[in-house]
Symmetry: C2
Subunit: 269 residues, 2 copies
Amino acid sequence: MDVRFLSLNQITTNGWSVQQAVDGCARAGIPWIGLWRHKVAESGLIESARMVREAGLRVSGLCRGGMFPAGTKVERAARIDDNRRAIDEAAELGTDVLVLVCGPAENCTLDDARSMVEEGIEQLIPYAAERGVKLGIEPLHPVFAADRSVISTLGQANDIVERLGSRQVGVVIDIYHVWWDPKLYEEISRSAGHIFGFHVNDWLAPVENAMMSRGMMGDGCVENARIRRAVEAAGYRGPIEVEIFNQKIWDSAYDEILVQMKQRFELEV
Amino acid sequence: MDVRFLSLNQITTNGWSVQQAVDGCARAGIPWIGLWRHKVAESGLIESARMVREAGLRVSGLCRGGMFPAGTKVERAARIDDNRRAIDEAAELGTDVLVLVCGPAENCTLDDARSMVEEGIEQLIPYAAERGVKLGIEPLHPVFAADRSVISTLGQANDIVERLGSRQVGVVIDIYHVWWDPKLYEEISRSAGHIFGFHVNDWLAPVENAMMSRGMMGDGCVENARIRRAVEAAGYRGPIEVEIFNQKIWDSAYDEILVQMKQRFELEV
């Protein structure tokens, strides 16, 4: 895939600060960057926005809002407030995509947690519209259903998008989370018109630690190019983030990682 | 749930031989046992069948057939032959259920692997019918999609059952593999009439090693009783296996584990 679409999701270069990641992208000729709230907070929101602008980069999205389910109304309201702050941060950083990692069941049942996710997103719609930020539900791999997200499939995310019926709500498709789904291509088609983000990487087997077993495109069993073509056929023309949690990569020389990333993006995606 | 339905899947007491597992069940008053081919082979097929009979136990199922996808016709044919042997073993052991763990993509694409699974099962139907053994497709958790099974959801298994349209082909529902599925209860309903096995346990989070993170019913986040009621409502009246891969349990005193298992089965399932 053309590197004009390539975005570095900064978790891939986890040891770098926002400034270092921005500079690394500029050196490597990577035009987009996906930022994380905790990294942005470390550098300062206004400063991070400035760093990105001065380097001539664009922000593909902000990770992450979400985490909706909680055991009390007070706590759930606090989560909604935090999401509004995340919306503000996205707007300040010049991106119109807030990635939603919806959260696990916390002191509640699985069904209730799923309802809380949908209700939470619905509550955010007016403010998101006001700030010009779109909410991208990122279904997470079912291995994370008990600790990170009760939204586990693209179909489930699409169902929520349909029910809420708002232009502010769509999906973020991350290959690591969805590649295994027997209904993947059907659901990518169903996502047409509301795909707000697309992340590529690879699945390394056997999985030792599911959080940290992502690989560089081409190092695993995933059909990256085929999935990318399907996402494109569904109308997505936005940036494509490379998002990899992998200790070997985290311990490597990041400039070399970025060079490899560009090569693999061109070859494998 | 009534312990008359309780079956010890022998992988839970992994350090025991068939004889030890059979004797343990007899001591604990557990009426059923789920056997594994490699354990049965260690003790001898005829001997294992005798041990079970003499202890007055019944075999709920044999793990496992499957492993269909392979890169060459010759290898695929060899897998089918091995499945026929597994069918013979099930019949000799007095169970009418062979559990199918369908296998990963091996030197082939994901789509082709899935086709090979369906074709492989179809090829086994006549022999299974002849020997009076039913083939239970066990969808595995998507975390195992790259290394153990390209059949990842109950819906996908039900689709195969529908297409093959044979009384010899059904599903085995293992809670660990399916609890997270947003379509779980729909698909349990759709399984009515062809549920050949039901396994209970729990999901321990956070997952460190997905193979070894199963727990005893009640120790995790799964709604065991609710799922059991759904499986019952779908018409299943057979034995319910407790299948747990867990190093702490494997290292424990198995007689105590069986006592706890019975208590948890009555309380949690």
